[in-house]
Symmetry: C2
Subunit: 406 residues, 2 copies
């Protein structure tokens, strides 16, 4: 089928038609109230909505609220999100606060309380300052450009906002998919991830929307690791408002393939941004595992290598200590035969069929000094492949996380 | 049964009768040859020996050699160990080098080559400098006090040697158990661990010796994590030379219970030393999980909490960010009900039945400033308990590991 997918310069979550957003500094991040920390994403038309929520057994109050409302299959008009406080591990009071936050938002935008979803990120185990949230919501003004404000308001230790949008031509239909995400610590998603909100003005069948989101997360957010810690707040939402007025896209069709491809591209873009901006990171690490006996093995090996603190520290120091790649592959649980194993950094082969090649030290160091470090492992046992993204481990990661609440 | 177990001041792996050791600076760690890096542990009498070897699918050449020789059930006279080079991921040449290293040692001490085991730790993917090893072995002199030298020679980034011995009175029998271990990075043992050699002059039935070692590892080395990376070199050996001339200790008896208790104490002592001396560490973290529905759940939860880089960094910064304990418990895979969960740091209860208690900030910070930080989680779902040990995460960990081979 004839299709074209192009990234939109300056694209964001409000790039698709009919989506508005806005944010304020409500003072949740601290009494100074200088950094935006409360945002609303709003659709002029109620949206078919799908979500993937954290696999952590401890779920934040916003996650529990989303879980409940998504289960009911209700159309969604808005998402209210805050940073600075995750509203997690806060008991019944936390749950009541999340419900109240949705109600306050609904009142401000003229919707039903049940049409609003809630997301939060920040310190765990602290109650939301509800007075500040009430005040903040009254002063948010929504606009077509507000996606950029929202992207900043959900940042915690992120150093730059994560935004993307693609313009899609699928046969005669033109639509847009946009998204935002935040990192940048407690990042090791599993079935769901961090905070990320995606939007589209395409009409999409609800069942396919959820399927497409699940598939996209699998090759993007679920392949990112900053520190191996899965957050209780992970929330990935997609809202489709149908303003394009196309026949709803259903699974197993040409338009579905195009939609999936476009959605994957947006998600991979956002996921790589998260890895690149991992707490304290100076480099993006991309690990590709080929020749695995199964997809699960390829994923396990790629994620284990990209998560190894020893490898991450070596990349930071541009130390060509490739043995740490081998050690990580070996403990990943994937089927490995040492005598079959190849390892490359960039285009330099370091281990061939289990034996070390003469080390081109300078060449490897040159690759390690780049802003993106590609590492390839070939297990040479099968045909499955997977790619995972992560970042180097720096002193700054420790500094950031040794004084997060203080 | 009447028993007494007492730690011996200055005790080490050569404290039991009939064990001798020695070490030299052979130049494996660098041409300077200032730090000891090659050691031999020797028993005057061939030993019943059991071992636990790495669960990493990539196994170092010394591990493969031990695996083979332990399988044959042969009595062992000596272990030769080096630091500075793991002889891992070195292909057939590496295996030949390990065999040669055992043969050279056998020649130097007058034993059969097959009676010698080999262990190595250090950089992965580099060949052993066999000329230096040959020269080094000729100049090692063995002595009853040599355990201390051996403990230093197997150190890599360790800042202090790990040694312990207990004197055991078990009914009318008196014997000694001694041991050494090394850390201090790539520490996340699973069925086996790092390098650790244990000795005893008790006579022990071979089947029980292996069982006892497995049980001891389970509550000691396997409950330690520095960085979540399991090494391809993990080797835990126990040698029993029987010089006490007691009736061999067999499973399911009173003397077996005493032996198990004493062995556990030595292993826990060494394991805690490894955690305390984790790369860059300033504090020991001890996590106890109570009230789990199964032992596996208790172990998973305790190990996940103690391994969380976010919690480790918070402890380093004395940041009372206890929400990270909750997040780690939640992703551990253990059965958790948020409304049942209690969390304490020291004796201060922070979360009770899933709801935060008023935060005694100063009190928690005071505990976090201690050299040992005890964290207790009660899942309140069952009766199983487990304790795990780890360390804080500091900038120094990153510095050490960003320039390990350079």
């Amino acid at each position: 089928m004839q299709a074209e997918i192009a990234f939109i310069e300056g694209g964001t979550v409000t790039s698709p038609q009919g989506f508005h957003a806005g944010a304020v500094a409500a003072g949740i991040k601290g009494s100074a109230g200088e950094r935006p920390d409360l945002a609303v994403l709003f659709s002029q038309v109620p949206c078919v909505t799908a979500g993937l929520l954290t696999s952590n057994r401890i779920k934040s109050a916003p996650v529990l609220l989303c879980q409940e409302r998504l289960k009911e299959g209700r159309r969604v008009v808005a998402v209210v999100a805050n940073s600075g406080c995750a509203n997690a591990s806060t008991g019944d009071r936390g749950l009541a606060d999340a419900v109240e936050m949705a109600a306050l938002t609904a009142k401000a935008i003229g919707a039903e309380p049940e049409e609003v979803l809630v997301a939060g990120t920040g310190v765990i185990g602290r109650l939301l300052p509800m007075d500040r949230i009430g005040g903040g919501l009254q002063s948010i003004s929504l606009s077509r450009e507000g996606g950029h404000e929202l992207a900043r308001a959900i940042m915690t230790t992120d150093t730059f906002p994560k935004e993307a949008a693609v313009a899609v031509r699928s046969g005669d239909t033109r639509y847009t998919i946009g998204g935002v995400a935040k990192g940048s610590g407690m990042i090791h998603p599993n079935l769901a991830t961090l905070l990320s909100f995606l939007t589209t003005d395409a009409a999409v069948d609800p069942a396919f929307l959820e399927l497409a989101l699940r598939r996209a997360a699998k090759v993007s957010f679920n392949m990112v690791s900053v520190d191996g810690d899965t957050s209780p707040s992970d929330t990935l939402l997609i809202m489709a408002n149908g303003l394009t007025e196309n026949p709803p896209i259903v699974d197993g069709t040409g338009p579905a393939e195009v939609f999936q491809d476009a959605l994957n591209q947006v998600c991979i873009h956002l996921a790589k941004s998260i890895a690149r901006d991992g707490e304290g990171a100076t480099r993006l690490i991309e690990v590709t595992v080929n020749g695995a006996v199964s997809q699960a093995d390829a994923v396990a090996a790629a994620r284990t290598v990209v998560s190894s603190p020893l490898l991450k520290a070596a990349v930071y120091g541009c130390d060509p200590n490739w043995g740490r790649v081998v050690a990580a592959v070996g403990r990943s649980g994937a089927e490995v035969e040492e005598a079959m194993l190849d390892v490359s950094i960039g285009d330099i082969l370091l281990l061939k069929a289990g034996s070390p090649e003469p080390l081109d030290n300078e060449g490897v160091v040159r690759i390690l000094k780049g802003s993106e470090v590609p590492i390839t492992v070939n297990l040479n046992l099968g045909t499955a492949s997977a790619t995972a993204w992560g970042c180097d481990l720096t002193e700054e990661y420790v500094v950031i996380n040794s004084r997060y609440t203080t």
